[in-house]
């Protein structure tokens, strides 16, 4: 008998003889945190929460050069579909629209789209379909997510409902961080040390 059959048999025997509990019906309200229950302005709450988890809001595309002035280099990766949006403001930057792994350490920033934002947690939803290069959103020190205001959803269950047939979805809630060494917070372990978001 295969491991699969043995496991299934044992599980069946273990559950067969006992009363089985029903699935509890629950209303989404039970998981909504107080912040979202009291919120009237989801965009405002998203900005506030994004800031609270250590993200940096970029007020307008035109502010990008200022936000990137301390970047380690002028090199960056950008989603080709976003190029028309930023080409005029990012003059003087060296921009690739194909992520070149050989240059992984040279890219100081990556600009990709977010599929949605979650107001109650300040999270970005990145999906396979919306992210032109996962490496571009992960490897550079700075990640800038471009998010349409209309794609901000109130809660975590709302964001989960957007997954559809997407095989790869990710909530990003602030910059990469660790507190493994004596509980001291350090940003930028493997992913971006600076997580930005620009609403359009």
């Amino acid at each position: 008998m295969s491991d699969r059959e043995q496991i299934m048999n044992r599980v069946r025997n273990a559950t067969a003889s006992r009363p089985r509990t029903e699935y509890p019906q629950w209303d989404s309200g039970i998981v909504h945190s107080r912040g979202i229950r009291d919120s009237v302005d989801h965009v405002g709450l998203f900005c506030q929460k994004f800031d609270a988890v250590g993200g940096k809001m970029v007020k307008a595309i035109a502010d990008l050069p200022e936000m990137l002035k301390d970047a380690a280099s002028k090199k960056g990766y950008i989603d080709p579909e976003l190029l028309p949006l930023v080409r005029d403001v990012l003059t003087g930057f060296e921009i690739d629209t194909t992520f070149d792994r050989a240059k992984v350490d040279e890219y100081a920033f990556g600009i990709t789209r977010a599929a949605a934002g979650i107001a109650e947690s300040g999270s970005l939803l990145l999906t396979g379909g919306s992210t032109s290069s996962r490496m571009g959103a992960l490897a550079p020190w700075i990640h800038i997510a471009i998010l349409e205001r209309a794609k901000i959803v109130p809660t975590i269950p709302d964001a989960i409902a957007l997954f559809g047939s997407e095989r790869n979805a990710l909530f990003v809630t602030g910059p990469s961080k660790t507190a493994d060494v004596e509980g001291i917070l350090i940003k930028g372990v493997h992913g971006p040390g600076v997580q930005m978001c620009c609403l359009v």
């Binding site: 491991d3 699969r4 299934m8 044992r10 599980v11 273990a14 559950t15 009363p19 089985r20 509990t21 029903e22 699935y23 509890p24 629950w26 989404s28 998981v31 945190s33 988890v53 992984v104 599929a115 949605a116 109650e120 396979g128 919306s130 290069s133 205001r149 209309a150 794609k151 901000i152 959803v153 975590i156 269950p157 709302d158 964001a159 989960i160 957007l162 997954f163 559809g164 997407e166 095989r167 790869n168 990710l170 909530f171 809630t173 602030g174 910059p175 990469s176 961080k177 660790t178 507190a179 493994d180 060494v181 004596e182 509980g183 350090i186 930028g188 372990v189 493997h190 992913g191 359009v200």
Partner: protein
């Protein structure tokens, strides 16, 4: 006097520096946990009870949900395997890596792979495996084992870590946590890019969609499944939840319970390998960037965000294999301890446990430590090895804090008591060590006349000057306490003489 309990001896011998770092490392998240839950929910008990019900329901129907998850994953192009035990799981992983020509493997933190002792197995088979969670990386270079479910190096301080980095050629001695983190980033970045395969665990699996959830703060799991071409997931069969929507219940509890965060930084949902050259499905919305309406949906409306599409992606693992591991779980499911399988490994019970905090994780001699470990570890042993860990359930004052903080309301204290009973009935020597014999008491308690006599006679104990007796444990105990006068037999005589007042209103 040396305690016959090995956990006590370990705690006594613990260096002061370790005791301090463990105590502090568990104190802070306990405060943050309480603050986060109170701030966001006020009373979080209903959410905790709901989580327990969902998990219990899933366990009660585990056969159906396991098959459902398996089917969904296969439909999405993932390979699904089942492993009875550690030996079977480990050899499956080795075979998969060999078949795919993988020599270097990056790994994201997984308690299951610790339980299976996967790393030593891979190394014996000539495969280089690199832990990428900062804490687990330090555990690996020190040839140590984790001492906490989510804070594997809670027993180490920055000086210990700086010495390890120096020894491993990762730069001169420097105990600045930021420098340590940067050095690890650089070192592990190279490994990510060179690796042939990534191995991860899974926090949850949805039966409805096959989606596995991986949570990290560092982003290492994301790297493990983005850079290499093969992704192997090892997951315990109990990690299933019925629907994607249920993730919201557990994700809202997991990080808050563990570290007081609303969500961890990266919460990953994957149910198949990357789509290669498959066009977007007809009818699905274009992935093109468009400016939508300025109106933002309200909580009551259906979400208006864009629907993600099935567009081909340029990176990510081309092959995904999910291995469901039993390794003793189905036996627990078939026992009176089945509720322990609800555990979502948040570590809150460890942070709050007065025994864990004094003794540290390694005192428990096993992968799962603290209150949850004292239940889970002996139960995961094969029947004939249960006795070797039968003392762990005694490492508790039964204060109940573990159940109080548990996000899935596992009755840990009850289970500890039942396990003590089992250990006694099975005559486990580990469990008997240091426990006074209850036989004289049992003798008296089953003989009313002898009991009454003893009660009266024991009043003589009031004449013994206990505080002057040169018995060190007694002196310590009485140093800050006063023993009330023994009043044996008084209750019985009061009962006899109180008269019949049951008819009074």
């Amino acid at each position: 006097m040396k305690s016959p309990q090995s956990i006590d001896r370990y705690a006594d011998a613990l260096p002061q520096s370790v005791r301090e770092t463990v105590f502090e490392g568990t104190r802070v998240p306990t405060i943050w946990r309480r603050e986060a839950l109170a701030r966001d929910y006020g009373d979080s008990d209903p959410l905790r009870k709901l989580a327990a019900q969902i998990k219990q329901h899933t366990l009660d129907h585990l056969d159906q949900y396991l098959e459902q998850a398996e089917t969904r994953l296969r439909e999405n192009g993932a390979e699904v395997l089942f492993a009875n035990d550690a030996a079977s799981a480990n050899s499956m992983v080795t075979r998969l890596l060999r078949e795919n020509g993988a020599k270097l493997v990056v790994k994201s933190k997984s308690m299951l792979t610790e339980e299976l002792h996967l790393n030593p197995h891979l190394e014996e088979n000539g495969i280089e495996v690199v832990e990428t969670d900062l804490g687990e990386f330090i555990i690996q270079i020190d040839d140590d084992i984790p001492s906490h479910i989510i804070k594997p190096i809670v027993h180490k301080n920055r000086r210990d870590i700086a010495k390890s980095f120096q020894r491993e050629g990762l730069g001169d001695y420097n105990d600045d946590p930021e420098t340590i983190t940067r050095r690890a980033r650089k070192h592990l970045r190279e490994k990510f890019l060179k690796a042939d395969a990534g191995i991860t665990g899974a926090n949850f699996v949805s039966a409805e969609s096959g989606r596995i959830v991986l949570v990290t703060n560092e982003g290492n799991a994301r790297f493990c499944i983005t850079a290499p071409r093969l992704h192997i997931v090892l997951v315990g069969i109990e990690k299933i939840v019925p629907h994607d929507r249920d993730f919201a219940v557990f994700l809202n509890l997991l990080a808050r319970s563990g570290v007081g965060q609303q969500l961890t930084v990266y919460t990953q949902f994957i149910n198949g390998p990357r789509m290669v050259g498959v066009p977007a499905l007809a009818g699905s919305q274009s992935p093109g960037f468009e400016t939508g309406s300025e109106e933002v949906s309200r909580a009551s409306d259906p979400p208006k965000g864009g629907t993600p599409t099935d567009a081909p992606t340029t990176d990510g693992a081309e092959k995904m294999v999910v291995i469901f591991v039993d390794n003793g779980r189905s036996s627990i499911l078939d026992s009176e301890y089945r509720e322990v399988l609800r555990c979502i490994r948040c570590g809150a019970c460890q942070n709050v446990c007065p025994v864990y905090r004094q003794a540290s994780g390694h005192a428990y001699r096993t992968t799962y430590q603290g209150p949850i470990g004292a239940v889970l570890s002996p139960l995961l042993m094969k029947q004939d090895e249960f006795a070797s860990l039968a003392d762990l359930p005694k490492a508790s004052s039964l204060c109940g804090a573990c159940q109080e903080v548990c996000p899935v309301d596992i009755p840990i204290p009850d289970m500890l008591v039942r396990l003590r009973d089992r250990a006694f009935r099975e005559g486990a020597s580990q469990a008997k060590a240091g426990t006074p014999s209850m036989e004289p008491w049992a003798f008296l308690a089953t003989r009313p006349k002898a009991w009454r006599g003893m009660m009266q006679a024991a009043n003589l104990a009031n004449l013994v000057p206990l505080n002057l007796m040169p018995v060190p444990p007694l002196m310590r105990w009485l140093g800050s306490r006063e023993l009330p006068k023994f009043r044996g037999g008084e209750f019985r005589s009061w009962m006899k003489n109180r008269g019949d007042d049951t008819h009074h209103e």
